[in-house]
């Protein structure tokens, strides 16, 4: 991909499209590239954490730090792949797998009680006491047939979250 030029060749577009398994149309990829270049102000070929944080809507999101870890150093192809979970053409499996990846911060394929607790802490901040968080989580885990020591795998996530009303879609503005 030509980092110095702001033009995508047809070959580039097709390569990116293949990499994200056709979840985005070619027009959407062109739009995403314009957006990528807009955010990548210093032209380094990837969007730095600082550059992401210049988007106020992103900066106020409770999960922004976690997502920044996943977005760190991605080039355009990988950036599109990251966003592919949010495409209207993405399968439910893709979406659930993405959510799993957000929880599984150490990437070992298993989500522990503490992993879920970490995210819950990000989402609720100081507005729930730590012990209350643990209590709530233990309670709902046990209700669902797990325990505090259970390690969840992607199949578990699919079972818990995998229903048709999981809404995780973003529209790519196409001029």
């Amino acid at each position: 991909m030509g980092n110095s030029s702001s033009m995508l060749t047809q070959y580039d577009i097709e390569e990116v499209q293949e990499h994200c398994n056709n979840t985005f149309s070619q027009q959407e990829i062109v739009s995403l590239y314009q957006r990528f270049c807009q955010l990548d102000r210093n032209g380094g070929g990837f969007i730095s954490a600082d550059e992401f944080m210049t988007v106020p809507e992103f900066a106020v999101n409770p999960l922004s730090q976690r997502l920044l870890r996943m977005l760190d150093g991605l080039n355009f192809k990988e950036f599109v792949f990251f966003l592919s979970a949010f495409s209207s053409r993405a399968s439910l499996q893709l979406k659930v797998d993405f959510i799993f990846k957000v929880y599984d911060s150490d990437g070992n394929g298993k989500v522990s009680f503490n992993d879920v607790l970490d995210i819950l802490r990000d989402l609720t901040g100081q507005f729930i006491a730590e012990h209350q968080r643990e209590h709530v989580l233990t309670q709902v885990l046990e209700e669902a047939g797990y325990t505090k020591d259970s390690l969840l795998v992607p199949a578990d996530f699919m079972k818990i979250l995998g229903s048709s009303d999981l809404k995780m879609e973003v529209e790519v503005p196409v001029d």
Partner: protein
Amino acid sequence: MNKLNTSSSELDLDRPNIEDYLPSGSIQEPHGELRLRDLLDISPTLTEAAGAIVDDSFTRCFKSNPPEPWNWNIYLFPLWCLGVVVRYMILFPLRVMVLMLGWIVFLSCYFPVHFLLTGQEKLRKRLERGLVELICSFFVASWTGVVKYHGPRPSMRPKQVFVANHTSMIDFIVLEQMTAFAVIMQKHPGWVEAKDREIVARKLREHVHGADNNPLLIFPEGTCVNNHYTVMFKKGAFELGCTVCPIAVKYNKIFVDAFWNSRKQSFTTHLLQLMTSWAVVCDVWYLEPQNLKPGETAIEFAERVRDIISVRAGLKKVPWDGYLKYSRPSPKHREQKQQSFAESILRRLEEK
């Protein structure tokens, strides 16, 4: 680091409820018994983040949209080339000469008037105002500004302040050619200490109450916006205890885009672009003066006036502070989201 803290708390005070503006369609009101699924399902938050990555209303405010090139066929292209020759070889030198002439006239009249008429204050001030308006007309001519003014011209009255939306440095020249304002743009918070703000506010109040002073023009956005959107108005102009007269400015991009995108070009390049275009076309509306309504806060007043200006000029409102170009949003917003999610969990626990 201390300065940054005060400025972030200042940003706090200047912002009303952002939640009213942000898309909350993805977050439904949850009810019923709390299940594991509800805690694990972070899709609404993720969707918001992804949405912001793909497109966000703040960055849109500062994006310059280049016009579509129209010179792409057999007879339009030569016509366009002819146009380029006329603009660069004829219009541009003419305009530079007009500008130089204007400066000569202005300087040769202003200094004598300023220093020799020290005894007759009223006459001196009137002549100075006239001269300022004259030099601005020369400036406007130097990029062939075609300005249509609507509404009653600002009158010289005390206890009134004028506010306008801000697109470019030329805004104030366009307005100044009609009325010699005293202009202030609300500056970068990092440069004005909290204490200084009080001094500045007091000085402004004194100026406004002085009957013979030039009317005050303030650009409450604090930064140049691309003339399709308005960012939040700073409340400073709205707590001076006087009538606020809104002015709406809308540029027609037919020949050139007046928005100065400081990220993309230097001011000199921008100015040259203006001086080699056919014309800068814009509309200026002087709108009905507004007063603080009983029970209205300064922020609400600012938002109401912003609404009036935005509607008149056909601009979309965004809930962002212009200074976010230079600094991060306050943690208050993230905390609001956290609080609402935490409360919904606790509520559903009790429903059991």
